[in-house]
């Protein structure tokens, strides 16, 4: 049991928890700024980003793919802003135009290029591959203190932990200006705060989380975690700080419950194969939101 759990289940669980929390944290601010769907747009444009990175470098490697995805996210945010501002297109539609066009371009590029030899497809970008992030060098709980084994942990784990830590530090650091400019932009500007930069910084943090997470867990979790845990948390409390803490709790809970249900749920029901962990984590986060919408103390304004 110890070996199996530590080697096969613990790494994907930890990766899932940190990916979920990394997305939920900036998701709180996106939710309050009525930009919840920016996360949706960003996770769609990750695909063209990684395809271009593959076409340029010719290899499937984490670093170029993350750079490509980050570049695509940045371009999409700038394009949405340009279409909204210069074309005077309503924000929702501007977002819809840009991310569908970029996603379509990504699919087309993928079909046009020879990717048959490598593992790169739309499904992978959507669902990720959480279940495969195992730690074969673990022999049991003792491996957690064994440096030799620890360095052979899936690289996604360290990447996700660092990403979450980075986003958490930035959020703590800029908490006051972020809260202030989200609540009252005019007042924040009268204090001399660079509200445009703060807004862009929040979107950049979201993009960072999305880019780091999609490779491990896929876009579905990314979109769900940007929105569901913060929305659930908003219904639990009327204070921003408490909301953020609740959202991290719900994100971690969704990841753990979703992973366990996906892996063991079908076995309990008598089926032989597990189901998609990414899909199940998103489903659990939705059920938590549904429960909060029915029973949470501050569900109504």
């Amino acid at each position: 049991m110890g070996f199996e759990f530590v080697a096969l289940s613990l790494p994907p669980l930890v990766i899932g928890v940190f990916a979920a929390m990394a997305c939920a944290l900036p998701g709180n601010f996106l939710l309050l700024r009525r930009q919840a769907l920016i996360g949706d747009a960003i996770s769609h444009v990750v695909l063209p980003g990684i395809v271009v990175a593959f076409l340029v470098t010719g290899v499937i490697a984490a670093i170029p793919m993350m750079i490509g995805a980050a570049g695509a996210a940045l371009i999409s945010v700038l394009l949405i802003e340009a279409v909204r501002r210069y074309g005077k297109v309503e924000p929702g539609a501007a977002m819809g135009v840009v991310f569908t066009a970029m996603f379509a371009a990504g699919v087309l590029l993928l079909e046009q290029s020879d990717t048959s030899s490598v593992h790169l497809d739309v499904e992978h970008a959507l669902y990720g591959n959480l279940e495969s992030l195992i730690w074969l060098d673990a022999v049991g709980w003792a491996s957690l203190v064994d440096w030799q084994a620890l360095v052979l942990l899936p690289p996604e784990l360290l990447r996700m932990v660092i990403t979450f830590a980075g986003i958490a530090v930035l959020t703590l650091l800029f908490w006051r200006p972020m809260a202030l400019s989200t609540f009252d932009e005019g007042f924040a500007r009268s204090l001399g705060l660079p509200t445009g930069m703060i807004g862009l910084g929040i979107v950049a943090m979201a993009a960072l989380a999305a880019v780091a997470a999609f490779d491990a867990v896929g876009s579905i979790i990314v979109i769900a975690m940007f929105i569901c845990p913060p929305a659930t948390a908003r219904l639990m409390t009327n204070r921003l700080g408490h909301q953020v803490v609740w959202s991290l709790f719900f994100a971690a809970l969704s990841a753990v419950l979703g992973y366990v249900l996906a892996g063991y749920g079908p076995l309990w029901l008598g089926a032989s194969d597990s189901v998609s962990a990414a899909g199940m984590i998103a489903t659990v986060s939705g059920l938590l939101l549904g429960g909060a919408a029915l029973f949470a103390p501050h569900r109504q304004s």
């Binding site: 005019g186 009268s190 204070r239 921003l240």
Partner: protein, 253 residues
């Protein structure tokens, strides 16, 4: 005009708020055109004019909230960047999301941002200062309330308390009486007058022409261009109102 000629260079230099040649355009339409404005220290000035005359835009452009096409504002003869700590701005109540998860006391504490910066911890002294500001607007019993649970008038008082917390010398208010009850209006005007009596300067975008003379001592009349400015008795006349509102309003005595 006469009042301008009588103004010496000394009063201009001492003025807390001077606008020169300000032009603001949204898209290709100028909403504020080549406006000059000079506010005397210790005065209480109403900015009046018809809808769409650029009253709010004038304040926002002066504070750098919207970018002007030309012109700028100076405060105590210094640029905005050097004067921010002495200026408090009260935006229109409707411009913010009142469903934001925050309490009344937290909103007032936002007024201390320039003192707190990114890191300084909130101390008991800061909370006492914020509570004192709430008391001054009569909202001390609501400190722990979620802001969405307040009435329009109460929300406006909280906004004013936040401005008080800034401890500024110049108060710029955008329609502070819009959609508030009579009791709140009286409470706000009492606070503003006490600020003036302390020697601070108050400028407010104002809609209700019937209370201009009662509340303010100076007016600035605007309809995209400056129409008139000066003490109420000089600038708030049927002639200037006709020029601004096109003869649609009458002064009643």
């Amino acid at each position: 005009m006469a009042y301008e000629a009588s103004m010496t260079e000394a009063t201009l230099a001492g003025s807390p708020f001077v606008v020169r040649g300000l032009t603001v355009a949204y898209d290709a339409e100028a909403v504020v055109q080549d406006v000059d404005m000079t506010v005397s220290a210790g005065s209480m000035t109403a900015i009046i004019g018809p809808n769409g005359a650029g009253k709010s835009t004038l304040l926002k452009a002066a504070l750098g909230i919207v970018r002007p096409l030309a012109g700028a504002a100076r405060f105590w003869d210094a640029p905005l960047a050097q004067s921010r700590r002495r200026i408090a701005y009260v935006p229109q109540r409707a411009s913010v999301d009142w469903d934001f998860p925050t309490r009344v006391i937290d909103v007032v504490l936002m007024g201390l941002y320039q003192e707190l910066g990114l890191f300084r911890r909130l101390s008991a002294r800061h909370k006492q200062a914020a509570m004192a500001c709430l008391e001054r607007v009569g909202m001390q019993d609501f400190a722990e309330r979620q802001i969405g649970q307040l009435s329009g008038g109460q929300q406006q008082r909280v906004f004013l308390a936040r401005a008080l917390a800034q401890g500024a010398d110049l108060y710029l208010l955008d329609e502070p009486f819009a959609g508030v009850d009579a009791a709140t209006e009286a409470a706000i005007i009492a606070v503003l007058k006490s600020l003036r009596d302390e020697g601070r300067t108050v400028v407010a975008v104002h809609h209700d022409l019937s209370t201009v003379a009662q509340y303010f001592d100076h007016v600035f009349v605007i309809n995209r261009h400056r129409v008139a400015e000066g003490p109420v008795v000089e600038a708030f006349t049927q002639t200037t109102l006709d020029a601004a509102y096109g003869g649609r309003v009458r002064l009643s005595d």
